[in-house]
Symmetry: C2
Subunit: 477 residues, 2 copies
């Protein structure tokens, strides 16, 4: 798909920085079969009907997810969660990626959701900023170990459908839902986990609706939690809640038949405006996973253009930090809403500071895991430089765009315009980029031979007769 087609597909135009779908007023008559239509689609979808390009993007999504989960597995966030909740785990059914522990599938889903999101390095669905895989893969990967054999082909289809359900529901309430302060990765992600697990459990349509109903009753995630361990808890809990929802529904636990569209349903309670057509338009012919993107930098995605530009400036001009007098950033409004922390005190907080990101990229020429640690957040030269960074919000700037002006102490002015950040729809990460990312994240956590085998298993997932082989290949043995 070329750039123009991809932008059209995203609903973007050249004229507007970030086109938002027309929103329905609260009093417009709803589609009273909305959830049933969506559920029926998931139930009847056949694995063989997925276009090759969709399956390809799903494999890229899986590769990126696994890289992030392995890379995040040693993080203190996961260690703390395991120490707090591990003692309550049931049977040792499922792998915690990158670790030795085996937990019941509900706890494994939570843990793998945390690890795959904690580095803020996972995938992004541009129209909604949903990091879908972190709320979905953990649930179906755990299930695959409990109910073998689930084939790689069925697994990949469940992932495609889960991402589709989460991102379509997300689109139906974006931007109102996100602007209100919800962390959409958790609140919409749970539907994806419920649908994907429900598909692998072969739920009939009524139970699939109930699974979505149970998911609707359990939204997880507020933007206020960004910069704390609770942020990565959101997709983890969404995965766990979605799995729980499908398991309950599979035994006949009843829920609403209109959980999305009813007067007190999810799209109405959790958003002041909505576009329910986004949930069913082109269902089965267009797949949201087709436009999934993958982060080159380990932090909030709206900072990426800034890092990209600052790395370019650093590489082109080799400025000493002390030679920089001022850094001006013209950014999209969401950049300050989401990443406006001026003085981050920890690595997790620094992932939501465009000030820190600009400074560390100008000094170190990178935006990887090492640039967003507690140590990096407290580094004297970074702290000194970030205080020289100023921002200006400009609604005419795209979310994946930035204009940077660096003024040096001797009066030079260096400007840089990043039209589309690396990793965006227009400048996507290549397969080779993803493999390099995988290696960089996984080396040091798992032995090199295991890293290579794990990468290969993700790329060739459709050849797997039993996806529990993939899960086991991700554990420390």
């Amino acid at each position: 798909m070329d750039t123009i087609d991809r932008r059209r597909f995203l609903g973007m135009s050249a004229a507007l920085p970030f086109v938002r779908a027309p929103m329905q007023a609260a009093n417009v008559q709803a589609d009273t079969d909305l959830t049933r239509t969506l559920a029926a689609h998931v139930v009847s979808a056949r694995s063989g009907d997925l276009p090759a390009a969709v399956r390809k993007e799903a494999r890229r999504t899986l590769v990126n997810w696994m890289a992030c989960a392995v890379g995040g597995s040693p993080h203190p966030t996961l260690t703390v969660a395991l120490s707090a909740l591990g003692p309550f785990s049931g049977p040792a059914q499922a792998t915690v990626v990158g670790r030795k522990e085996r937990l019941d599938i509900l706890h494994a889903s939570l843990m793998n959701g945390i690890s795959s999101h904690v580095l803020d390095f996972d995938d992004t669905h541009p129209p909604t900023i949903i990091h879908a895989s972190s709320a979905i893969v953990p649930a179906i990967l755990a299930l695959a170990e409990q109910r073998p054999p689930i084939s790689g082909s069925d697994f990949l289809q469940a992932l495609v459908l889960g991402v589709d359900v989460a991102c379509r529901i997300g689109k139906s309430v974006y931007p109102a839902h996100y602007d209100a302060g919800w962390h959409i990765t958790g609140t919409a992600g749970v539907f994806g986990a419920a649908a994907a697990v429900g598909k692998l459990l072969s739920l009939p349509a009524e139970q699939m609706v109930w699974a979505l109903g149970l998911a609707a009753a359990q939204p997880v995630g507020l933007q206020e939690m960004f910069g704390t361990m609770t942020k990565s808890f959101h997709p983890g809990r969404a995965a766990q809640n979605g799995l729980t929802s499908a398991l309950l529904a599979s035994k006949g636990f009843t829920s609403s038949n209109q959980p999305l569209e009813a007067r007190f349903g999810w799209t109405r309670v959790l958003a002041s405006r909505r576009n329910e057509a986004a949930i069913t338009d082109d269902l089965g012919t267009r797949y949201e996973i087709s436009i999934n993107t993958y982060k080159p930098f380990a932090c909030g995605v709206v900072i990426h253009p800034t890092i990209d530009g600052c790395i370019q400036i650093r590489n082109e001009h080799r400025l000493q930090p002390s030679a920089i007098a001022r850094v001006e950033l013209r950014v999209h409004p969401l950049v300050l809403q989401l990443t406006g922390k001026k003085a981050p005190q920890s690595g997790l907080e620094s992932k939501f500071s465009v000030y820190h990101a600009a400074a560390v990229a100008l000094i170190q020429g990178a935006g990887g895991v090492a640039q967003f640690t507690d140590q990096a957040a407290r580094d004297a030269s970074v702290v000194s430089l970030r205080e020289k960074v100023v921002t200006e919000v400009d609604p005419a700037i795209h979310e994946d765009e930035v204009r940077i002006l660096v003024t040096t102490t001797d009066g030079r002015r260096i400007d840089k315009h990043v039209e589309h950040a690396l990793g965006s729809v227009e400048r996507p990460m290549s397969d080779a980029d993803l493999e390099r990312k995988f290696a960089a994240l996984a080396e040091g956590v798992l032995p090199s031979a295991q890293v290579r085998r794990l990468t290969e298993l993700c790329w060739t997932i459709e050849d797997l007769r039993d996806v529990s082989d993939l899960a086991r290949a991700a554990a420390i043995t």
Copy 2:
């Protein structure tokens, strides 16, 4: 406390049907220490400082909770939940009330929250309609079995503080939050569970704030789920989420320091208007549990005046159902919002049908568990009579008030005005009423001697050195 004092205490006036506290516009400056103030209060509260009347009401709350949990324990909702999730339970640490199963404390909390709410027979905090105990007691009762000995006195204090936290936070967003469609028992209840567990874990103030932060990120419950099994899942999941939140925080899992009051905090994201002062006003001198009420009828509380009045009409006039031509109800607006189902198909749905309730009360002269079963919902005479029930909303009618006019086929007009329903603040259930309710709910589930012992243990909870004795006394052995 006499009637006038209790109404004042509730913030009610004689002139207005249901006084609502003044609401803050979204742009009013927030108290930036709101959560810290609340957490510090919970952390520093001393058990010995609780007034005797508060402890008395807490014991009544516990008696009523246990009655409902035992009575609800054989319900299919719980049986299905146990069959779906029981296989994933961890160590057999905690009692499932009224059952043989023992589960890990997280799953036990969920199950006991479901059973105590599934009959819609639990307690009600009138200013918010929060059924607080079902989201709180399950969490601390489970904890008591895992970390013995927790004394009855400490347990009761944790319950008081949990109810206070949940209901104060609920008051801060009522009615906007409730009117939007949230099931406030779950969404606010989770804070109560987190605070109560946090108190028993002796969390320091910072961790108590984080526990509330993790709770804020996990609101459970939409009104759309009323009439389905998911309704009682709400307080169960709230108990489980609150317990999870406190356990995570106790190991250092970080969260926001301003989860309630921040720009994207809970009170702002989940309500269009708020009154944050309700969270801290008279903290430590006034306790929300003091105004807790207990249901005499097993259904949505706003139906209670109708049942009360219809039973009176039935007992006074002994009408044959076939002699009734028409039943007119003038009710508070919430009655139709919450309980407007005209043709309920199941027992769970019938609990949210004022039409069914009026019919069954006129025919059977009762509003107990037996009047809201699948069988009762499908009973031909009930179905026939409920179709003759019409409602008119009148904002001048209190929530605990109704005006009923029955017209007979021979032209008689019988009217009944219920000013305050049985079980309301003005006509509270006596201790003897609660004991009768306990016996009626528990007999048949547990042996009579065990029922008597369990009732006695609840009344004398403060004498218990180890509350795990109470939990074990509620199990089928």
